[in-house]
Each structure stands twice: as structure tokens, then as C-alpha cells.
């Protein structure tokens, strides 16, 4: 017996029927969703509370009298609202997410399960340390892994995200210079291909930024850098592997030259995923490097954070690291070295970067991931990440211009330019075309040193079949862009929204919702 007993068979719709607007504006599974301010009410709540007297009297004569304007929804409505919103997002769980430099890899669900164990999730940061030995144990165990994987001397765990980690490393350098009486060293050299956070961080820490030129093959120009070194240079900030997807072959020579000139080497560890388990930055002379736990160690990106950016430090910089940190004693007891307990044991610490002890919820996830892979698995992670990227590079370098295709193998990401696309077509058109093919686009227009850059980082958690489908899709879209297919200029056509007017958004910013009636009354 079949389910359809009527004998009806599908046939192609007549021209035009498919695009007729629906009453709701919905398109089957693609559901429009209003704002909570349009569907909720300030009298509605989805939470039940105990009955009882709530008369408060000790609020310093500041009891709330005015309404706040916060709408509520009953639980079914709230679950539906956010579930509908979620379906308007692309995510790794849906498919390949090839954002270069962002390392969008699979987020194992064991990590989520572990982070929610009450022993980790329901613990207050200021509990007496005897009651949180397991939590401190996680921080300490992860710290040991990070130190050993990078071949460094110490690690500051508290930075909240990558850029915060950069700041931590640069403040260590600043403190070290001042301790030597060389606070006058103000210049930090940064390659043009660096992430924007690098110069922003250096400037925030009170340094002046100067560009280091690149060689035609996409690497730091060692000779030019050496010429600029001198008594006014505090150090360099170098990304390795760099943002062109290439390993800086001269890294050790760069470090040696900087050290000889009295400076320090900061390495942006955003791309550590390419070398974890195969190369230790400490062996390359690095003094400080942040590690984005949300990149290399698979903690979820969550639609824009939370991140976590521990910073590994060389022996020279470790004394200047921030509070707090953990200390494991011979008997296994772990103490938290913070203002209360630091005494005179860490006199050169530059201070404190954040309340409490860092992104604990990310530490549990990252440690779970690291233990799952182990030292051998992490090495395989780097190998597969690099293999996947080279496969993408060599599968597409006949279709798209690969500016550094002759510079040797890439590391974890493949870089293309928009050279060769038809007049008037650029990277954004390829990107929006990819959306219609069911993929999140690659990183666009970064690094700045390549015209119309397309930076593709597939990561190691993609299968060959997934890569082949992506390569096929990108090749098809690229060919259309080379042929000048105008349909690409208005892509995406099948996404929940077509191209959005970013100019209007910035010119007259609407950042909060206003009741249309009230807004009109105000005008």
C-alpha cells in the first residue's frame, strides 16, 4: 500500500505560479518572523514564580515607578520565535563554512555536554579555592597542554578573546621593556597583511605602528625588516602561518634579528590550527602568542563569541603576565594566584585584564576536545587541515587566479584574487552566488594585500565529498562571474533576504526598536 491512494502524480507548475506571493509572506519552510516587540506583551511571562509577599522597602527610595518596555512571551511562543530565527542562519552544522582565518570546524557535542556538568556550570568564581579544585584542575591541565603544544614557558589564561589576548601579549612586552628601562621603544612593526586587530592592539598599548613590506611571494621581507630594526623598535607582530595562507619560512631568522636588536616577537596565533602538533612556535623564537580556543580547539563561535584567547609566553615575558593564574603543588593541591595570595611572588605582573579567571566554559570545552584528539590526533588535525586547503587550491587554480600559487604549498587556507572576472564583477558577486549554492562564502577582501581576496579555509572536519561539492559550486560560480552573468549581481536569490542596504543602515542608524506610534508622536 502506498500513502498516496488518490492516484495523483506531481507535475511541473505552470509558469508564474511558483513566484506568486503567499498571504503570510512565508515560503514553506522559510518563515518570516516579527520582532518580540511586535508579538510580545509586557503583561505576559513565560516563567512561573512562587506566590507570596514581595513588598520591598529597603530600595533607598529608588523603587521603580516607570515602565521598562520589555515584552514577554509564553514558553511555546518563545521557543517558536527563536527556533524560527535560528532557521535564517547558516551554520557549520548545515554545511561547509570556508571563512579564511576563522577556522570554522565542527563543534563536538561532547564539549557541550561536559561544559554543562553542574561541577563546571554551577560554580561561583569567588568560592573558596578548596571547593573548586576540579575547576582549577581544568585550567591547570589546559594550561599545561597549551604550553607543551607551543613549546613555551608560561601561559596567561584570562584573556577573553583573540584581540584581548593580543593586548595581553603586547602589555607583557611593554612591561618587560619598562622593567629594562627601555620604555622609550615605541615602534611595533606589523605586516600589511595582518589582521586589523594587530595594529589596533599595538596602538591601544601605546605603541606606534609601522608596516613591514611583503615579498612578491607573500611573505615578510626579512631584509627590509632587518633594516628597520633599531633602538626604537619594541618588537614585531607577525601572523604565522600568515594571512596569505603561507608559512613564514624565515620566522626563526626574524625572531633572532628582533631579539638581537633588543625587541620581542609577538605571533598572532589565529592560524595555529595549521601547525598544531607539527611545529612549536617556541622553537621559532616567539615570545608571546595568543591561541583562539574557538578556532584551533573547536569551542563554538556562537554567532560572534564568546571567544577565549589564552596567551603563551616565553621565559623572558612570563614574569610580566597578568593575574590570576593557577599553581599546582607537589601534593596535587591547586591554588589560585590572585591579589589575595600573590604576595611578592609575582612582583612584575602587569595587572589584571578581567574580573574573575577567564572563559572557564571555553576551557572545559577546549580541554575536552584536546583530550579527545590527544597528541597524535592533534597532529592529524593539522595535516588534514593543510591537505584539505591544498586540495581546494589545486582544484581551483585553473579557474581562479591564485596570486601565491607558485609560492609552494599553502598551509590551512587557499587564497585567490578577483583577477580574471568579467568587468564590473568582483569577489562579492562570487560570494553571493555561493550563498545560492548553499554555502557560506569565503572571507572576502582580506588580506588587503591581494586584490579582491577570497580566502578559503575548509578545515580538517570536511570530507572529500563535501570538498568536491564545494569546489564544483565555486568553479561554477566563478565561471559565471568570468562570463559576466548578470544574475550574479543580484544574488543571492534563494536566501531569506536579498542584498541588504548597508549604506542606509550606517547613514541613519536604527539600533533599537521604537514603537511606530510612539516614534511618530515624538516627531
Amino acid at each position: 500500500m502506498t500513502i498516496n491512494q488518490s492516484g495523483w502524480r506531481p507535475s511541473a507548475p505552470e509558469q508564474g505560479n511558483a513566484t506568486a506571493p503567499t498571504f503570510t509572506g512565508n515560503k514553506a519552510l522559510m518563515l518570516e518572523e516579527p520582532l518580540i516587540f511586535e508579538i510580545g506583551s509586557t503583561d505576559t511571562t513565560g516563567v512561573d514564580f512562587a506566590e507570596g509577599d514581595v513588598a520591598g522597602s529597603r530600595l533607598g527610595n529608588l523603587s521603580r515607578t516607570a515602565p521598562i518596555g520589555l515584552p514577554g512571551l509564553a514558553e511555546p511562543e518563545a521557543v517558536r520565535h527563536y527556533t524560527r530565527l535560528s532557521r535564517q542562519n547558516y551554520a557549520i552544522d548545515l554545511g561547509l563554512f570556508p571563512l579564511g582565518s576563522c577556522t570554522m570546524k565542527h563543534n563536538p557535542r561532547l564539549n557541550e555536554k561536559v561544559a554543562r556538568m553542574p561541577g563546571f556550570a554551577d560554580v561561583h568564581p569567588l568560592q573558596p579555592v578548596d571547593t573548586v579544585q576540579g575547576a582549577l584542575g581544568v585550567i591547570n591541565e589546559l594550561a599545561v597542554w597549551l604550553i607543551k603544544l607551543t613549546g613555551m614557558h608560561g601561559v596567561a589564561m584570562s584573556p577573553k578573546a583573540g584581540a584581548h589576548g593580543e593586548l595581553c601579549g603586547m602589555l607583557c612586552i611593554k612591561a618587560a621593556l619598562e622593567a629594562r628601562g627601555e620604555g622609550h621603544r615605541k615602534i611595533v612593526l606589523v605586516p600589511e597583511s595582518a589582521h586589523g586587530t594587530n595594529p589596533a592592539t599595538a596602538a591601544f598599548a601605546g605603541f606606534q605602528v609601522e608596516d613591514i613590506p611583503a615579498t612578491p611571494e607573500g611573505r615578510v621581507d626579512l631584509d627590509a625588516m632587518k633594516k628597520r630594526l633599531g633602538p626604537d623598535v619594541a618588537g614585531v607582530m607577525i601572523t604565522n602561518p600568515n594571512t596569505c595562507g603561507l608559512f613564514e619560512r624565515d620566522m626563526k631568522a626574524i625572531s633572532d634579528a628582533v631579539h638581537d636588536a633588543g625587541g620581542y616577537v609577538y605571533c598572532d596565533g589565529a592560524n595555529f590550527n595549521a601547525i598544531v602538533g607539527r611545529v612549536r612556535p617556541g622553537d621559532l623564537g616567539v615570545d608571546a602568542m595568543h591561541i583562539n580556543l574557538h578556532k584551533t580547539f573547536s569551542t563554538p563561535h556562537g554567532g560572534g563569541g564568546p571567544g577565549s584567547g589564552p596567551v603563551v609566553l616565553s621565559e623572558a615575558l612570563s614574569p610580566f603576565g597578568p593575574l590570576p593564574f593557577t599553581e599546582r603543588h607537589a601534593d596535587g593541591h591547586i591554588t589560585l594566584v590572585e591579589e589575595e595570595t600573590v604576595g611578592d611572588r609575582h612582583p612584575h605582573s602587569f595587572g589584571r585584564m578581567t574580573a574573575f579567571h577567564g572563559q572557564m566554559g571555553m576551557f572545559t570545552r577546549a580541554l575536552t576536545y584536546i583530550l579527545s584528539h590527544g597528541a597524535d590526533g592533534l597532529r592529524q588535525v593539522a595535516e588534514d587541515a593543510v591537505l584539505n586547503a591544498n586540495y581546494v587550491l589545486r582544484s581551483l587554480d585553473h579557474t581562479l587566479d591564485a596570486p601565491f600559487g607558485d609560492s609552494g604549498p599553502c598551509m590551512h587556507e587557499a587564497l585567490f584574487s578577483d583577477n580574471g572576472l568579467a568587468d564590473g564583477f568582483s569577489t562579492i558577486d562570487v560570494a553571493k552566488g555561493l550563498i545560492d549554492e548553499g554555502f557560506h562564502p569565503m572571507t572576502m577582501y582580506f588580506p588587503l594585500v591581494v586584490h579582491g581576496a577570497m580566502l578559503i579555509e575548509p578545515t580538517e572536519t570536511e570530507s572529500k565529498a563535501a570538498l568536491d561539492q564545494f569546489i564544483g559550486a565555486l568553479r561554477s560560480v566563478a565561471e559565471r562571474a568570468k562570463a559576466g552573468d548578470t544574475a550574479l549581481k543580484t544574488a543571492p536569490h534563494f536566501a531569506p533576504r536579498s542584498r541588504l542596504d548597508e549604506t542606509q543602515a550606517a547613514r541613519k542608524p536604527v539600533l533599537v526598536w521604537k514603537d511606530p506610534e510612539m516614534a511618530m508622536a515624538a516627531e
Binding site: A50, R64, G72, P306, R352, T364, A506
Partner: protein
């Protein structure tokens, strides 16, 4: 390896396409001296899901959790009941495993949520606008001080003694490098806040006054006179809210004319998590938005005229402005902002006010009960769900002793201010809706015994 889909045959076939004979050839640019031949020694190897879970569970069991017994810790992190649907929704893969919404056509879920979040936060804090979240309250506080410097072009920040000492510590650390002058003080164990002293300290070099509301001891002061005094000297008032649930019971800082309001959003939806990740809240008057750090989500239309949302005003940010950016901050705390927003939507205004009322009523009862314990003096006249008691002797050993009875009694001021002898006898006690009458009685009895 369960997270790596490539097979041996795949790898061979892919190397063929690449034109390499071994994986090692792909690492040819790494100098020989820096190449590791095999797994780093002394580290464990691959482990099954079951084995890892066992290891982590063993670590988790070594912690006494907030749910294990009577619990009264606050000081910037609060235990509240979080509805089950909050955690369910933030684990939707489309939220959990999405990136920053740089491709708005396929990120409207995150973007609309952020727009709703910004509106909720602005209304709670009483500000015109709010951003899409910061790392946490302490870093948001420092960023607000930097913002005030840019707006006023002055470099002296005056920090209230009632500001969380970790927040003070972050600000003084950062100020060393930006050249700001930061005036600080420590609180005293009495009912009066330092508002009058702050008013007297404002001068023509002052960029801002930073005041916590309710403060570290739980005291609540009217900020309006302080705001007026700031504005008379063309300085800004920055208010810091570490317990946003309080906004359901008391006036918001924005209503009292604070210029920038920052907060720690952990209390709503996020959970304790041993200190992070949390979610920084930041709102301000509309005229200051172009000096504000962090991401903004803004409303716009798509090519077909439909409403949609995008990240906007990014010309302030580091990926455009590089060394001239308003801040080096890149990320926000997206998933925690989602948790906050979902919980806030479930509560609604009615729920938030009810929740705040329950918190305050329970805290009043606890304060009255503890006041009856011989040797205890309740410091506060005013408080929301957190108040300070003076035990007449050093609190740290007492708090440690109470943990043996399964009671987490509060935060010793001696831990937060290790060098300030006058605060060693202070204990900050937070009482939320999760505390029961039995819990309060257990705390009072245990303190009675400890002080006897």
C-alpha cells in the same frame, strides 16, 4: 578519529590532485629544525568519548556546586534559576555553530536576535541605544572610561570606592598604558556611599565618574545629583550595573541621567560558569554612539524592500580603522547575549519585576534574620538582593569553615581587598530567588555557632 572524516584512500587521492607524494611535502616551508617528527612526548594520545567524559566528570566532581546546598555568593556573579528552554535554544546548531553575521542574507537569525537584545538592554539600562555586547562587565567598564576620554578629551577618571575591585583593577591596569589618570578609593563598612565625596572631587580635568549601582556592598544611591554635578563640569557619568535583575525593582541609571551605562549580563540566562564566559552590556546616549566600541546591529532593507538587519557603523572598528579604531575589541559575546535575550523574553517585564520583588523580599528576610545573630551588624540601609554584614572578626576563616557544613556563605571582603584591614570583617551576602527559608536559617545558625 571521530572528528576527522578523511579516509586513507581520500588522502592518497587528494595528494595525487595536489601533485605531492607525502603530507610532509606540504610542510616543506617549515624549517627542518622546527619540524616535529611525531606526537609531542609526555602528552596523552587519542581517547574515546567515554574515556574523556569519565576524566572530565571526575574533575567536575571535585567542585562543590552552587546547587549542592545553601548558597549566598554574589559580588558580580549571581545564581538565578534559568528556564530549561534557554539552554535548549542556545544549543540550536544554527545559533551555536554560526559565525559573526558578516553575510547578513544568511544570518538574519543572529542579527534580528542582536537587534532585539540591543533594544532590551537599552530599555533595561535606561539608555537610548546599546551595542551588541562586550566580553563582560569589567572590560565593558574599562571601555566606557576610554569612550569618555574620547568624548571629553580629558584624561582623569574618578572611580567610586563602591566599584567592584576587579573592575577597578582592570581599569587601573589599562590606564597605565593609555596614560589615563585613575583616582580610586576603597569602601568603608557603613551605610553611606561615597556619592558626596565623588561630587566634590569632580574638576575641569575629569572625563568621567564611575559608580556602581547597587555598589559592591549592595548599597543603592540616587545617581541624579551625581549626574548633575558631572554635567555641570562637562564630565560624563558612567554607571555600572553588575546585577541587572535589580532593574526590575529600582530606577535605571539612564533614568537618572547617566551618560554611559555598562553592566554584567550574567545574571540573566548565562549562569555562573566559574566566572566566564559572561556578557558585557553597554548602552549610552544617542549622541555618543560613534565613540562607542563594539559591534552594532542596525535595521535596514534588502533589495526587495523587506526589513532586514546588518552589522553597522563598522567604520569605528579595527578591521576597517586598524590603528585608529575606537577599541581593539573584535568579538562580542554573541551566544551569551542570546541566552540573556531568550531569558529576558521569557521573563518579560511582568516576570522581571516579579523576580526582582522576590529577590528583594528574600534578601530583606535574610538581613533581618542575620541581624539577630549576636555579633553581626548589617551594614546597609539600602540594598536590592545583596547586602554586607560586619562579623566583628575576620570573615575568611569563617567562610572556609562553613564550606565544611556545605554552606557557601558569601564573599569575604578580605578576599577582594586583601590589603585593606578595615574590610577584613565584612561579608557580602547575596540572596536570590534560588535561596529557601531553610537555607537562610542554615546560614544564620552556622554563623551563630561560628561567632559563639
Amino acid at each position: 578519529m571521530r572528528y576527522l572524516p578523511l579516509t586513507g584512500a581520500d588522502r592518497e587521492a587528494m595528494l595525487d590532485v595536489i601533485g605531492a607524494s607525502t603530507i610532509d611535502e606540504l610542510f616543506a616551508d617549515v624549517p627542518e629544525s622546527a619540524r616535529l617528527d611525531g606526537p609531542i612526548e609526555g602528552l596523552p594520545l587519542y581517547a574515546s568519548e567515554m574515556a574523556v567524559e569519565r576524566h572530565m566528570a571526575a574533575l567536575a566532581r571535585q567542585n562543590q556546586t552552587a546547587g549542592d546546598g545553601p548558597f549566598f555568593l554574589g559580588c558580580g556573579a549571581y545564581k538565578h534559576h534559568v528556564p530549561a528552554s534557554v539552554d535548549h535554544l542556545i544549543q540550536r546548531g544554527e545559533f551555536l555553530t554560526a559565525y559573526t553575521p558578516y553575510q547578513p542574507e544568511i544570518a538574519q537569525g543572529t542579527l534580528q536576535m542582536l537587534f532585539e537584545f540591543q533594544t532590551q538592554v537599552a530599555r533595561m539600562l535606561g539608555t537610548d541605544v546599546a551595542n551588541a555586547s562586550m566580553y563582560d562587565g569589567s572590560t565593558a567598564c574599562w571601555e566606557a572610561i576610554g569612550m569618555a576620554r574620547r568624548i571629553t578629551r580629558r584624561g582623569k577618571a574618578i572611580l567610586s570606592g563602591g566599584l567592584h575591585p576587579h573592575y577597578v583593577s582592570v581599569a587601573t591596569t589599562m590606564a597605565k598604558y593609555t596614560g589615563d589618570a585613575v583616582e580610586t578609593s576603597v569602601p568603608t563598612l557603613n551605610a553611606d556611599t561615597d556619592i558626596d565625596a565623588l561630587i566634590g572631587a569632580i574638576d575641569d580635568d575629569t572625563s568621567c565618574v564611575v559608580v556602581q549601582y547597587p555598589d559592591i556592598l549592595g548599597r543603592i544611591a540616587d545617581l541624579k545629583p551625581l549626574a548633575d554635578a558631572c554635567h555641570a563640569k562637562k564630565a560624563l557619568l558612567i554607571a555600572v550595573v553588575t546585577e541587572p535583575v535589580a532593574m526590575g525593582a529600582i530606577k535605571s541609571p539612564g533614568e537618572m541621567d547617566a551618560d554611559i551605562v555598562v553592566g554584567e549580563g550574567q545574571s540573566i540566562g548565562v549562569g555562573l560558569q566559574f566566572g566566564g564566559p559572561y556578557v558585557g552590556l553597554m548602552g549610552c546616549k544617542e549622541k555618543y554612539i560613534r565613540q562607542m566600541p563594539g559591534r552594532f546591529c542596525g535595521e535596514t532593507v534588502d533589495a526587495d524592500g523587506r526589513r532586514g538587519f546588518v552589522l553597522t557603523l563598522s567604520t569605528r572598528e579595527q578591521h576597517i580603522r586598524r590603528e585608529k579604531a575606537t577599541s581593539n575589541i573584535c568579538t562580542n559575546s554573541g551566544l551569551c547575549a542570546l541566552a540573556f535575550s531568550v531569558h529576558m523574553t521569557l521573563l518579560g517585564e511582568a516576570g522581571l519585576r516579579r523576580l526582582a520583588g522576590i529577590n528583594h523580599a528574600l534578601a530583606c528576610r535574610a538581613a533581618d534574620r542575620l541581624a539577630k545573630v549576636p555579633g553581626i551588624r548589617v551594614v546597609n540601609d539600602s540594598f536590592f538582593n545583596e547586602f554586607t554584614i560586619d562579623l566583628g572578626k575576620e570573615t575568611r576563616p569563617i567562610v572556609r569553615a562553613l564550606t565544611d557544613k556545605g554552606i557557601l556563605a558569601g564573599v569575604s571582603l578580605g578576599r577582594l581587598y586583601p590589603t585593606v584591614d578595615s574590610l577584613a570583617n565584612g561579608l557580602v551576602v547575596a540572596v536570590t530567588e534560588t535561596a529557601t527559608e531553610e537555607d537562610i536559617e542554615a546560614l544564620a545558625t552556622a554563623l551563630e555557632e561560628a561567632l559563639a
